[in-house]
Symmetry: C2
Subunit: 163 residues, 2 copies
Amino acid sequence: MSHTLRLTGRLEPRGAWTAERCPIARTLQVVSTRSAFLILREAFYGTTRFDDFAERVGISEPVTAARLRELVEHGLLEREDYREPGQRTRRQYRLTSRGAELLPVLVALMQWGGRWLDEHGGPVTLLHRECGEPVSAELRCAAGHHVDDEELELAPRRRTATD
Amino acid sequence: MSHTLRLTGRLEPRGAWTAERCPIARTLQVVSTRSAFLILREAFYGTTRFDDFAERVGISEPVTAARLRELVEHGLLEREDYREPGQRTRRQYRLTSRGAELLPVLVALMQWGGRWLDEHGGPVTLLHRECGEPVSAELRCAAGHHVDDEELELAPRRRTATD
DNA sequence: CCGTATCCTGATAGATACTG
DNA sequence: CAGTATCTATCAGGATACGG
């Protein structure tokens, strides 16, 4: 058993794309810290306000402010000021679609933690609203097959004429 | 459009499971740093040796040693000494099945980076070996439906009799 | 309610030099 | 090849106090 991808074609010079062009590394430049991941988690849970982020993630105000600012700068959250009649102005932070597309990352992290670090699979589950069945992040190919890790192949991307 | 999960049932006291029991937070205690994620990436790519990890991830030896030790301690990698006839003893680090199950996290990170941070979808693709189709991490329910983020529901896990 | 300003601690990580 | 030892810089993050 070899939990290892097989490589097709050529990928060198290895260091070149590894350091700067690896999409995993690039994503980690945008969300690298624990607090960033957990703020995104809260955004998915529906949290929108500064104080709620700080309290529910369990981080201090300065850290909350820094992470929210960075996430807005990177376009994962957007800040919006609004005012309900008779109330004072409030702010809310909401996921953009760019940010929302990180959901599979969070679900995969949740899944792994529930499976390997919790006695009984963790305190919460995700369900498909339409049918009530539990949801998980899994690997699928475009043809719709479930893909096991031994069935994966890493290939250099084909360049198109416009590249 | 509301990129936000709807909640079913009760989850309070919120702070209680958020701080310590949230499976995302717990996973991030095991792999929290950039270097840990990238070492796992390399392990998936087939890297097994100390020097190769250091060079391909682009980190110093002390950092490499620290991360490898932690990942072995947490059971994501296993260290194995081996000796080929006529050669001297070598060491290799290989993914355990526990570690291999983090693959969806890495694929999801790769996918997001390729989509949002790269001009042309990033330098590499994952393919399903059997059929050659590109692979992605997506959300599915146990009934096999593709699940969109608006179709997600967060529910407290039901306790079984043995809990 | 939504932050900023300061100060402080500890962890992440680079550079360099050295050992089995 | 596979690390350890040191030394240092940078950054994540807590605590506290304060301002719009």
